[in-house]
Structures are given as structure tokens and as C-alpha cells.
């Protein structure tokens, strides 16, 4: 049945997100919060995250164009961004945030810019993957999404 295939596909997709470390334990926490009262809770949260963090990304981008770099400001933005990313369990994105902050701390502008590029890549990749995931999830039905990885 196509339904079953879809379910399997969804499960595989989900598992790979964890295996490839795009997502961490926090995502599972979100899944566990999903219930009848909020059947699309996880998707809602992720959507909210991407909407809100977009402006942060923009602020950082603008700040990175100013010369000289205001590391304290950059660090502040990234701190916020990191906090936000931790909310959905965006593992790779978080890792890049931490690295970015480290470069800020030592005042390495080059490092900051480089890291930020990498961060944006991860950020966008995750977004696409999650969009595909949720799309399939909606087709399959809510019950399928809540299962813990190995």
C-alpha cells in the first residue's frame, strides 16, 4: 500500500535526520509534546523557529558587513540564535553557532565569517529536509511521527 510505503519512508527520513546529526534529542521532546490538542505541534514550532531566526540571520549578516567587526554584538546575536536553534534540536546549526561564538570571543573576524557561511548552509539544508519531512508526515497522519530513534 502506498500508505505503508509512505510510513516507512517517513520513518527512514526521520531516522536519517538523527543519524546524520541534523537533529538531536530535543526534537524528540517536541514530538512527545505533540498530542491531540496540538496535532501539528512539531511542525508549528519548526515553522516558528525558521520565521523568527530569519531576522537574526539577517542581523548577523548586516553586522558582519560592518568594519570593524563588533564582536560583542555579533556574539549577542549568535547567543540568541543558538538558544533558538536549541529549541528544535538543530544539532549542526547549534555546533556552528558555538564555533562562531568562539571566534567572536577571540576576535577572529575571518573565522566568524567563514563559520557563518557554513552555518547558513546547515540552516538551509535542515530547513529543506524538515519541510519535506513534514509534508510527508501530513500525508501519512500524525500517529506515525512519534517514535524514538534506536
Amino acid at each position: 500500500m502506498e500508505r505503508n510505503q509512505q510510513r516507512r519512508q517517513l520513518a527512514v527520513m526521520r531516522q536519517s535526520l538523527f543519524d546524520q546529526e541534523y537533529l538531536d534529542e530535543q526534537f524528540i521532546q517536541l514530538e512527545e509534546l505533540q498530542d491531540d490538542a496540538n496535532p501539528n505541534f512539531v511542525e508549528e514550532v519548526v515553522t516558528l523557529y525558521y520565521r523568527d531566526s530569519a531576522r537574526l540571520i539577517q542581523s548577523i549578516e548586516q553586522a558582519l558587513e560592518k568594519k570593524p567587526l563588533d564582536f560583542s554584538k555579533l556574539d549577542g546575536y549568535m547567543h540568541q540564535f543558538k538558544g533558538s536553534s536549541s529549541s528544535i534540536g538543530a544539532k549542526k546549526v547549534k555546533a556552528e553557532s558555538t564555533l562562531f561564538r568562539e571566534y567572536c570571543r577571540v576576535g577572529n573576524g575571518e573565522g566568524c565569517i567563514r563559520t557563518f557561511q557554513q552555518l547558513k548552509k546547515e540552516y538551509t539544508t535542515l530547513k529543506k529536509k524538515l519541510e519535506a519531512y513534514f509534508q510527508l508526515a501530513r500525508q501519512v497522519g500524525p500517529a506515525e511521527t512519534a517514535c524514538r530513534p534506536k
Binding site: Q29, S84, S87, I88
Partner: protein, 591 residues
């Protein structure tokens, strides 16, 4: 957003329906936290701005049980919000951050956060936040209970002998009366579903108290227990809880009183050739320890569960003990050594950044009658001073200074200082050592018996006892009514500065009780002062304590007749020699 009702009746048992206010500028986290808290069956209100949160809190006093706030917020520093909440509403506040740096966490704790959570936050961490609310409630109950216990005694006594009516209420200003009412009301309104927090309001009249004391005397100081006392008292309407509470107040909440009474008993004994009527009932070797109202042994037993987590701020006792500690009291050596660096401020003051931090003193006394774990559960998040250190240790550090002659005027004048924290403390600390230096060495007996106990016990009892070691010389002397006036004024001053004078309340009231017994003519004045002070002080946040040395008025320790210096341990009964003081009936522990 869910608005919680003003006083929402909860059909489900606590902690269901806990009213939580979440403050976070991150909308994603706000949504997640809201969902998580709802899953815990809590009532959630969300805010993305600190100012909003404060407004909500101010609009609905008593509308929330606990606040969870992020550290980084655009409009206001999370720590600032924390301070505001603690000061204005006295609610437990939990901080959150993605940054788990020790420095920041410490800062949070210093500002009074009762917990610091790291993002990403798990559900299970949120499930347990109710314990902070519960803990606070328990201590409020106990605080009010004990103060009311003292208060009712004063009230009764004042009624019976009030030659100076004006004095009785003269020092209670409107604010304090109102705040006291608020505190009591707040206590009443709180939804105490937990039976252990229920309190029995009993007015311990002089008669009742005398019955109580008779029973205690009859049973024997070391065998006393609420049930036995109750049986002997033969008061039908009195419950075991009433008795236990009263016993608690008299022995644990004011543990240092024991030594005090011992000391005063001695004084009386020396001053008066006649042996006290009461005295004959008890085994009592003045040089031995267990003749305090409930004996050291009793204290030990009763304090089994006492740890640093205490609900009554008697850091004074601790800090003053230091003088003894400093002088090399054996048992204290180990404690001496373990004071953490963090707790030692440069100058001689216990670290007291603010009312929140004062909570550390809370650690010193706990209510062994109450649910045992409440005191024991004081983790570093609950108190600025990590558990394991008693204020005694900290204060001890501060007391390492050479003795200076007591400068009463100085000490007294220094009380109403604008900067509550360090300045006053150091001033008081100056006066403290001389106090101890005047001590006779005989008190070691009493103290040493305490030291054999497990360390935590020592903190409490030993410290208290020693504390009294420091005091007796001074205390006995300050029987003049005049002494109390400045104290009261001082207290009002300090009160107005937002200090928590709870510890002083008990301390002072104890003093006064003792005083009455010793010097009749001053009794009315003392009582009046005491009562006023009780009232005045009660409204202060009970959960915040400061270094006792801030509030102990050195004038109390003014001129002590030399013959009082060699008091060692006092006999409980000696304090209340009826022949010595006509006003003896008004004492706290009179048989």
C-alpha cells in the same frame, strides 16, 4: 496565552494547577515551554517582555506561584527581573539560558534564583519546579507560626501588665502592621494542600504556657516530647500539633535561647541567695550542659534532621559563635577549615548582596519537626551559600579580627546605614569580637557537649550555644529599658531599608523574655518593645535573612557586671526565680 485566575481554586491536588509565568523573548521557546508546562498540568501565562511580566505580576499579586525567566532579554536583564520579582513579590524564580557558564549560573543564584535551567530544557526539569513553591510555602508557614507563637505570648503578657501602654504599640508603624497583616493574609490565602503546612493557631497564654512548662519540667528536659507534654498538660482542646509547634518554637527556632537561659539562670542564681522554686525540680549542675530548658541532649535529638537548611535566619548565632570558634574551639576546627572562598568577602562581612542572598542564612536552621527533607534539600540553587557551609563558618572568617573595645555609640549609629550589605556588617562585626572576648571560658563545657554531634547538628546547636557564649555578658547587662529604645528604632530603620529582621525578631524577643525575668521594672518597656518589634519585623520577608551581626545591637552588650562574666551554663529554672522578679510570670519559660 492562558491567563490564570486570581485565586484559582484547584480541584486537583498540588502541584496541579501551579500558576506559572514564563518570560522569554524567544517565541519558539515560549511556545515550547508553554506546551511543556501545560503537559505538567500547570496553568501557564507567557510573556515575551520582562516589563510585561512585571506588570502582570504587579496587577495580580498572588496571581502566580512561580516565575520562569530567560536570562537574556532585550528590554531588561533577566537578573534584574529576578531581583524585582524577589523584592516585590517574593516568588520563586527559575532562570533559563542556553549559556551554562558557571559564572552566569552563580550570578543567577546570587540574585536569588531558586534554580537555573539550561536550554534545551527537558520536560522532566519542568515537572519538578513545584518543589520550589512548596519549599517556600513551608518556610513561610513556619516563620509565621513561630513569630505568631512569640507574638501571642507577648500579647498575652502585655495585656496583663501594661504600665506603659504607649510603649506597646509605639514602635509599630503603619507599614509594618499592614505588612504583617499581609504576610498573615498571604499565608492564609495560600493554597496549602499539603497537611504538613497547616498550622494550628493557638494563643499561648501565660497560663497555658505555664502548664506547658510544668509539664516539661515534670517529664524531664531530656525526655520531653509533644505527646508527653500534651498528656500532662491536660488541656482538652489542645492538640499534639499545638504542643509540638510550641515546643519547636521554644527549642529549635530559638535554640540559642537555651544557652542564654542557662546563662541567665546562672546570673540569677548568683544574684539571689534563695534558690529558685523552679530550680529544684531539675537536675542541674551549673557546670554541666543539659540544664537548658530542653537540654543539650534534647537539642541533639530534636535536631537530628537539622541541616544547614534552616527556615529561620539566625545567622547571628552562627556568626557570633565565631568568636568562640576563632578562639580555637576544637569542634570547630573542621568547620573552620572548610569555608569556601566564594563566601568570603574581602572585608569582614558575610556576603549579603541583597535580600535574595540573605537566604543563605536560612540554611542554618531547620525545623526538625517539620518534613525533614525540606531543610535538607537546600541545594546550591536554593541558597546563595552552597550547602555545606554554615553562616557560622563564613562569619567565622569575618570574626578573625582583633578584639576591640565595644564602641556602643558607634555600633548603634552604624545601624541605619544606606548600604545594607557590607558596611553595616563590618561595623557590627567589629563589635562582635569584643563581645566574645568578654566571655568566660567556662562555657566551653556546654559547647563541647554539642560538638560531639554530627556536623550539621553542630552548626545549629553548637553554634547557637556558642553564640550565647558570646552574648551572655552583654545580654544580662542590658536590662535597661533604654537599651531597647535604640534597638527598636534601629530595627525600624533597618526594616525600612528592606532588611529582613526576622532573625532579629526572634532574637530580640528572646532577649526581652529573658530580661523580663531578670529585671522586673523594665519588663513592661521591654515587652512593649519586643512586641512592637515583633510586629514591625514580622512583615519583613521571612525567607530572607541577613547576617545577624547587622542587627544585633551592640548596646545590648554594653556594660556587664563582672560577676556575670563567669556564667557558664544556665539552669533553666534559675531564670525564672519568682522571688527575684515579680514579673517572672511574663517569662517565656516559666513554670
Amino acid at each position: 496565552m492562558v491567563e490564570s485566575g486570581f485565586s484559582s481554586p484547584r480541584s486537583d491536588p498540588f502541584p496541579s494547577g501551579l500558576r506559572v509565568l514564563v518570560v522569554d523573548d524567544d517565541p519558539t521557546w515560549l511556545k515550547i515551554l508553554e506546551k511543556m508546562l501545560k503537559k505538567c498540568s500547570y496553568e501557564v501565562t507567557t510573556c515575551s517582555l520582562a516589563r510585561d511580566a512585571l506588570n502582570k505580576l504587579r496587577e495580580k499579586k498572588d496571581g502566580y506561584d512561580i516565575v520562569i525567566s530567560d536570562v537574556n532579554m532585550p528590554d531588561m536583564d533577566g537578573f534584574k527581573l529576578l531581583e524585582h520579582v524577589g523584592l516585590e513579590m517574593d516568588l520563586p524564580v527559575i532562570m533559563m539560558s542556553v549559556d551554562g557558564e558557571t559564572r552566569r549560573v552563580m550570578k543567577g543564584v546570587q540574585h536569588g534564583a531558586c534554580d537555573y535551567l539550561l536550554k534545551p530544557i527537558r520536560m522532566k526539569e519542568l515537572r519538578n519546579i513545584w518543589q520550589h513553591v512548596f519549599r517556600k510555602r513551608i518556610h513561610e508557614v513556619r516563620d509565621i507560626e513561630s513569630l505568631e507563637g512569640l507574638e501571642s505570648i507577648h500579647m498575652t503578657i502585655s495585656d496583663s501588665d501594661l504600665s506603659e501602654d504607649g510603649n506597646l504599640f509605639s514602635r509599630e508603624d503603619a507599614t509594618s502592621a499592614k505588612k504583617r497583616k499581609d504576610a498573615e493574609t498571604r499565608h492564609d490565602d495560600k493554597d496549602f494542600s499539603d497537611p504538613s503546612t497547616k498550622k494550628a493557631r493557638v494563643v499561648w497564654s501565660v497560663d497555658l504556657h505555664q502548664k506547658f512548662v510544668k509539664a516539661v519540667n515534670h517529664i524531664g528536659l531530656d525526655k520531653v516530647g509533644p505527646k508527653k507534654i500534651l498528656d500532662l498538660m491536660n488541656v482538652p482542646w489542645l492538640t499534639r500539633e499545638n504542643v509540638a509547634s510550641h515546643l519547636q518554637i521554644l527549642t529549635e527556632k530559638i535554640p540559642f535561647m537555651q544557652k542564654y537561659r542557662l546563662y541567665l539562670g546562672r546570673l540569677l542564681k548568683e544574684n539571689d541567695a534563695k534558690s529558685s522554686v523552679i530550680g529544684t525540680k531539675h537536675a542541674d549542675s551549673p557546670s554541666k550542659d543539659s540544664t537548658g530548658i530542653f537540654g543539650h541532649k534534647n537539642l541533639t535529638n530534636m535536631h537530628q534532621n537539622d541541616v544547614l537548611g534552616g527556615s529561620y535566619g539566625f545567622p547571628v548565632a552562627n556568626s557570633l559563635v565565631q568568636s568562640v570558634d576563632v578562639r580555637g574551639h576544637e569542634g570547630d576546627q573542621k568547620r573552620n577549615a572548610s569555608v569556601p572562598e566564594a563566601d568570603m568577602k574581602g572585608t569582614l562581612s558575610v556576603d549579603l548582596p541583597g535580600p535574595h542572598k540573605a537566604k543563605s542564612s536560612q540554611m542554618c536552621f531547620d525545623d526538625s519537626f517539620a518534613p525533614n527533607d525540606s531543610g535538607m534539600n537546600y541545594t546550591s540553587f536554593d541558597h546563595p551559600i552552597p550547602s555545606g557551609y554554615s553562616l557560622s563558618e563564613i562569619a567565622e572568617i569575618h570574626f578573625k579580627q582583633e578584639s576591640r573595645p565595644l564602641d556602643l555609640e558607634n555600633c548603634f549609629n552604624q545601624l541605619p546605614l544606606p548600604d545594607p550589605q557590607h558596611h553595616i556588617q563590618s561595623e557590627y562585626l567589629q563589635s562582635a569580637p569584643p563581645i566574645s572576648s568578654g566571655l568566660s571560658t567556662t562555657k566551653r563545657d556546654a559547647s563541647s557537649s554539642i560538638e560531639a554531634k554530627p556536623s550539621y547538628d553542630e552548626y545549629n546547636r553548637g553554634n547557637h550555644i556558642k553564640h550565647f557564649d558570646s552574648f551572655p555578658v552583654q545580654m544580662s547587662e542590658s536590662l535597661n529599658g533604654q537599651v531597647f529604645e535604640p534597638i527598636s528604632a534601629t530595627i525600624s530603620n533597618m526594616k525600612s531599608q528592606g532588611f529582613n529582621l526576622n532573625c532579629l525578631t526572634d532574637w530580640e524577643s528572646v532577649q526581652r523574655n529573658i530580661y523580663w525575668e531578670v529585671e522586673a521594672p523594665f519588663a513592661p518597656v521591654l515587652q512593649g518593645d519586643c512586641y512592637a518589634m515583633n510586629l514591625g519585623l514580622q512583615n519583613i520577608d521571612f525567607t530572607e535573612y541577613s547576617d545577624f551581626t547587622e542587627y544585633i545591637d551592640p548596646t545590648l552588650f554594653a556594660k556587664v557586671p563582672s560577676h556575670l562574666y563567669d556564667a557558664l551554663s544556665f539552669d533553666y529554672e534559675h531564670i525564672f526565680d519568682p522571688t527575684e522578679c515579680p514579673v517572672i510570670d511574663q517569662g517565656l519559660f516559666i513554670a
